[in-house]
Symmetry: C2
Subunit: 242 residues, 2 copies
């Protein structure tokens, strides 16, 4: 790969790229609800996540005004609870379970990879998660961000161009000095369209092990042209000379 | 002082409260301009800072749209250069000197005090400085913020109420769960008016040593009612049981 001295900052997708939302959500759902209900908690996690893009699409399309991902997650959770016919769960339990997204565990290379990358570059999340969610995730996983960028400072959701533009602007840089890192090609394509550099990170386990029944399939290779393609964040750090 | 378990996050004024802008700006101005000009560089720093509130007032009043503090600092610097009759300084030198605000040194207790406070509380700057300025200041002084809040996420300048409101909202907390920390009573009063808790930190050297000719005087005691009053950030950490 090429050395590149023009990149000053890296911004990161978080859900799936840095943290393993699926097994974390399944485990926490079981903790909160497992006393009273018996079901496949990975199915429950997948069903909750299935509501993610459609709920944000309502904001992106202008159908509803911007609200935080915490708010969307809560609406989506209530719907999934209904779809699974889980009756009699009190509001406090639902509110606490909704914060499961604030306590997702990271992939095994995330912490060290980010630490290495931060030695040479400014780093920040560019996630659809709200600022307080990102703060709590960083504390949970001992990640040292330079700032929290993404949906909340933009007032919209990726892949809306304004989210990448607002993040670049906050960094005081030109788009070509900022690299978007993600495990999802649609996110990288949208960033590249705004002039950002791109790095793909393979997260083959995002939707479960090979052969899992989830209807989503993790991307093992980028489906769009990227500047860097790597197997994990340590690989990216090495490719960047960190 | 009282123990208080309802406070979840502390947000900090930065210029004057955490960093010594006056001597840092004087030293950097001398570095950039001292080869060609001989003058009292503390006077120069004071003159640059004198433009600070009037320039933000134009935004607060709606006379001009919101722009970053970097932009205002540059306008102000050009005016001061003119006022001091410093001729022939090229644009690049001016642009580099303008970034002096990104490299201010902190007071001797700031780093340890913030580290102690962060063990128990979420911490973030609530400054009029823009996000990239805050990122660079934090890196320069090895400060670990949980997020960068303040003027840029609010699109206005303190003491406009929206800046405190936007910072509280980003933290996902109630105003009474957030404490504003500052060396300036007007800032604390404005935060208290929005329902935040307040802590005053004495910075008697902000405008120079006792007897300095600066027409501003540092506050040695708060001029408004506050929840905590402390001699430095280590004192605040101790009062908060950190």
């Amino acid at each position: 790969m090429h050395a590149d001295h023009s990149i000053k900052a890296l911004i990161f997708d978080v859900f799936g790229t840095l943290v393993d939302w699926r097994s974390s959500i399944a485990a926490q759902a079981q903790t909160h609800l497992g006393k009273n209900f018996s079901l496949d908690w990975l199915d429950f996690a997948d069903a909750w996540r299935d509501q993610y893009q459609p709920s944000m699409q309502k904001v992106r399309s202008g159908e509803i005004p911007f609200c935080s991902l915490d708010t969307l997650h809560l609406i989506n959770l209530k719907r999934v609870i209904q779809d699974f016919s889980l009756k009699g769960i009190d509001e406090q339990t639902i509110a606490e379970l909704n914060l499961a997204w604030h306590k997702l565990g990271c992939w095994s290379d995330t912490q060290m990879g980010l630490n290495r990358i931060r030695q040479k570059f400014v780093i920040a999340p560019c996630s659809n998660g709200n600022i307080s969610l990102m703060i709590n995730l960083a504390r949970h996983n001992q990640i040292h961000w330079d700032a929290i960028l993404g949906s909340e400072i933009a007032g919209n959701y990726k892949p809306n161009p304004i989210v990448y533009q607002a993040s670049v602007k906050a960094l005081g840089l030109n788009p070509s000095e900022v690299m978007m890192v993600a495990a999802h090609s649609f996110d990288l394509k949208a960033a590249a369209d705004q002039g950002l550099r791109t790095a793909f990170v393979a997260r083959p386990q995002e939707y479960g092990p090979a052969g899992a029944k989830n209807h989503y399939k993790a991307e093992t290779k980028p489906l769009t042209e990227v500047d860097y393609s790597c197997s994990d964040l340590n690989d990216l750090a090495t490719q960047l000379g960190c």
